[in-house]
């Protein structure tokens, strides 16, 4: 697995030497962390590069990290020919989570980005139809952020002190 990661890192470093922040293998998945403003450029570069050819977008999602006040956008790419996988992460500030859209490279990113916007409020610049997808349109919060608890924490009719969930 590490050979796969090393190869990807060297390919990315050919062109984006200063935009690659970190790389590691998480369990069995090569992961790289890149600067948020270059992420789409890097993905389209990896799409076209003859040795990388990551031409399948497996999934895309957001993660909220309240301790560092950041939102992560995670992309998972797959090369179906060599069966190589890659996870790309990028960090955005919670106050202004803006990132270019990936729909220019993968049409399937359309709904996945809408879902990420719906739950985390990440604004994908250039997205053709960025509006809520699963929640109601007039919702005013981004519900998957950690500051919104699942239930009202001040409810008094429910005592979860012993068997808290």
């Amino acid at each position: 697995m590490t050979e796969g990661l090393d190869k990807i890192v060297s390919i990315v470093k050919e062109k984006f030497e200063f935009d690659l922040l970190r790389s590691e293998v998480l369990v069995d998945f090569p992961t790289i962390v890149v600067k948020n403003e270059r992420v789409v450029e890097i993905i389209s570069y990896l799409y076209d590069h003859p040795e990388a050819k990551f031409q399948f977008l497996t999934t895309l999602c957001g993660i909220h990290l309240p301790e560092v006040n950041q939102i992560v956008v995670m992309y998972q790419l797959h090369n179906l020919i060599t069966n190589q996988r890659l996870r790309i992460k990028t960090f955005l500030p919670v106050d202004n989570p803006v990132i270019p859209t990936l729909t220019t490279v993968f049409p399937s990113a359309n709904w996945m980005e809408r879902e990420t916007y719906d739950f985390y409020g990440v604004v994908f610049q250039g997205h053709p139809n960025l509006k809520r997808i699963l929640n109601v349109d007039d919702m005013i919060i981004f519900p998957m952020r950690k500051e919104y608890p699942l239930e009202d924490q001040v409810r008094e009719d429910k005592n979860d002190a012993m068997f808290g969930r």
Binding site: V27, M74, Q76, F106, P107, S108, M112, L150
Partner: protein, 406 residues
Amino acid sequence: MTTMEEKAIVSDQYYKAEEKQYSYLNLGPTHPATHGIFQNVLKMDGEVIVDATPTIGYIHRAFEKLAERRPFYQITPITDRLNYCSAPINNIGWHMTVEKLLGIEIPKRVHYLRVIIMELARITDHLICNAVIGVDTGALTGFVYLFQHRELVYEIYEEICGARLTSNIGRIGGFERDFSPKAWEKIDKFLKEFPGVLKEFENLLVRNRIFMDRSIGVGGISEEKALGYSFTGPNLRAAGVDYDVRVAIPYSSYEDFEFIIPVGQNGDVYDRFMVRQEEMWQSLSIIRQAIEKLPDGPFHADVPDFYLPPKEEVYHNMEALIYHFKIVMGETDVPKGEVYHSVEGGNGELGFYLISDGGRTPFRLHFRRPCFIYYQAYPEMIKGSMLSDAILTLSSMNVIAGELDA
């Protein structure tokens, strides 16, 4: 002339100039032909679809948020409700994700038992889809006939875990009990009876003139577009790409079995039907191989920290009582980590992306739901086709509302 009349004339002119051929049709949300809660606002030119706007989220239940407040073993019932046509695949996929995070060694027998269950689930999933394709082309007989045998599979689930549709099958580390002799009897009965039924169903439709006229060349998608829209599962294979998670990234000892991946050519309704049909035959063969090669051994991994001890033990054995208490109260330490595990679900690559911060619940759990990802290609697939073909395309894509909306 009053202002009202003026307005009417203006809007009429506008209508004539801009939209004169088009009418709008609201297909869904609860339409008997859509098999689930899907809304599509169709822009129609006569009977031809010009454009479609799908609206989803009618049965959104916030599973990803719910999962952040539930211990790992309580997330299994949530996964039941994703693709409820093949719930055991989702359950087992989730168990395997947690096992990957914990780094547990799973006995070979558990792998084989899981393969049997997952392939039975795949048969039921494909069987519903293909039977419904038949219904939408006007052949109700096959549907009623096949559902009798879906019932046999549900009886097998019932014998193994006690539940039928939302199965909640197995546990982290294996199964809660070994398969009973009755369960093996039922599996044998199914394996004996089902091939004949499937063959008869195939004879009913595969070379049927009416069915072929209705389905060949309808709702097609090219290989490039299918890859661009991140299709997986039978829909991608019907378009001609031989990607199957069972072969590409084998899990649960799938590498031990001989089976072929059927691939289509045009990606149309007929190809999707045929790919699913062939996959059912392959599943039957995998189940037979698994039963034949089934090794002896324990039916669960030896992980007392995560696998609930038997109830009698809890009453008479101090250690078992401690483990039971710790598991139920969520006091066991889970390693920190980040894993992605994918299984070949009923309609594509079902992935679980789990981040654990060492707490009793996941920090973040993301489901890669194949339906959600490929349903966005639906407007493009039905553009320029007839309304009745749009309905057939929807049912042949096997979009399950539970998985679509999570």
